[in-house]
Symmetry: C2
Subunit: 305 residues, 2 copies
């Protein structure tokens, strides 16, 4: 089956440019610094980071295209026969950490893998986006999932529920019995639709992100907050760190494959708080995050939307 790495690469580079341009405009104060890097084992990337903005405390949008021998086990859980294969991986990975506790943290990833070993030659797409609010609003979460569903709709009515459920399952902290946030889409090992159609789906996901996220930012960015909300945000960012370092396959793949540490860990929040055995006061807005949002929910079906 013919694949077209150059077309994927072009799309990803264009997506990174569109994201950074729009996000910098949205921020209104800070800009992205670009950091091109080479990987000793083969390939490289371009990490773009905005710091201390009016909206974003930190925003990182990375492009990478790496290749080498010896595909690490974290990349081949579904295909153990390819462990150690010659591989090529391209992706855009983004994490946005707003300063305001009322603006959700978010993550987007779109990626393409090729691996070859002996007679086996495989390729697949993966990616998705997910939202991690601190003080969530139902209308925001429904909007987020509505955009996700619309992006999936042309590919079949079963696509959104399947990848929404996968997202809930993937971004789950077992040791906390909590989802990371309110989910979105997650997919991996996608090749069953053939290259052209699978690539089309990747673009649909990548292209949908801004229309999912920007309206939420616009609605919440002006909301006043105090030390209480900020401290809660810093505390909950600890869960983001726990997830990324303990569970996230992109992170473990990156560290295992000799990836560029600074680019891999630019997903980590700029400031974080950990506190032993902290619990929200019953009935508080903070308690509502735990009880109403940090578990899988059907955001669109219930309301019959």
């Amino acid at each position: 089956m013919p694949t077209d790495t150059a077309a994927v690469r072009d799309y990803l580079i264009g997506l990174q440019a569109r994201l950074t341009t729009t996000l910098a405009a949205l921020d209104g104060r800070a800009t992205f610094a670009s950091d091109a890097w080479q990987r000793p084992g083969g390939g490289g990337g371009d990490s773009r980071v905005l710091k201390d903005g009016a909206l974003f405390e930190q925003a990182g949008v990375g492009f990478s295209h790496v290749m080498g021998q010896g595909l690490p086990p974290s990349a081949t859980q579904a295909r153990p026969e390819l462990a150690g294969a010659e591989f090529e991986a391209l992706g855009v990975s983004m994490v946005l950490h707003p300063t305001s506790p009322y603006v959700p943290t978010t993550h987007l990833n779109v990626r393409f893998f090729r691996a070859a070993k002996g007679a086996s030659d495989a390729w697949w797409f993966g990616g998705g986006f997910d939202l991690t609010p601190y003080y969530p609003f139902d209308e925001d979460v429904r909007h987020w999932h509505r955009v996700a569903r619309a992006a999936c709709a042309p590919f079949g009515a079963d696509v959104y529920p399947r990848y929404k459920e996968w997202c809930d399952r993937y971004f789950f902290l077992k040791h906390r019995d909590e989802t990371r946030g309110v989910g979105g889409l997650f997919f991996d090992d996608l090749n069953a639709w053939g290259f052209a159609r699978s690539f089309e789906f990747l673009r649909a996901v990548g292209d949908a992100f801004l229309s999912a996220y920007v309206p939420i930012v616009e609605r919440r960015r002006a909301q006043a907050y105090g030390e209480r909300e900020r401290e809660f945000q810093l505390y909950r960012r600890g869960r983001y760190v726990e997830f990324n370092l303990v569970y996230d396959r992109g992170t473990t793949f990156g560290l295992q494959s000799g990836g560029r540490t600074e680019s891999i860990l630019m997903s980590l929040p700029p400031r974080v708080r950990f506190e032993y055995d902290w619990h929200p006061a019953p009935g508080s807005p903070e308690a509502r995050l735990y009880s109403d949002y940090l578990r899988p929910r059907d955001w669109l079906g219930e309301a019959g939307e």
Copy 2:
């Protein structure tokens, strides 16, 4: 070979009491809150945490004694035949996070394992202590290692170099090419000396800790510092988080074995900073930490002490 779990348990409970009493007195303001917990799978523990002290931003000293079926793989890397065995684990684990960047972070662990599977019955001790300074002083590091060496001396002249080297190797962040700090002692799988002598060594290590750490605290606690030093400390604490969540076997064992999350993660620093691609200014005290301390060094041999 006869083992005596009750004696180990008594020692560990006594050690926890001595540590918390001395550390609270050293702090002078805050006290330890005690949190007894039960583990659904069997056993339990007592987590003691001091917060917002005059000296310690957070100090955690945990005792646990857990048992169950199905020893997790992280505990049996040296003994794959025991994966899934019936097991019992006892330990004291401590991490101290001082507020002042001039007072080092430190970690102590002493533990005892028993595992039985079919005809196999095994036990072993493990533990050690290590120091993580932000602005190190050579005399402090030499004192630290001198106490470590003295604790090991009755057990053979080769013991300190061996466990010092193991510590350097264990507390190493591969993705940063840095040691976590200036090391100390680390040992595991210790049973070759027989139960009585191995247990004696465990006690020697546990009992040596305060005489290794307290003099360093006394020398550095009054040193004035500003935002620059504090921000560097918060940044370097990020490495502590990275190590504990990515590499530490105690943490992964705890999370895998359904351990009590809050007790396992009380090792994490109360406040942390991550920053993309930060580097110390050449020639600065911060740069000296990287160049002179975050790599294995022979702290005692060179000076012929």
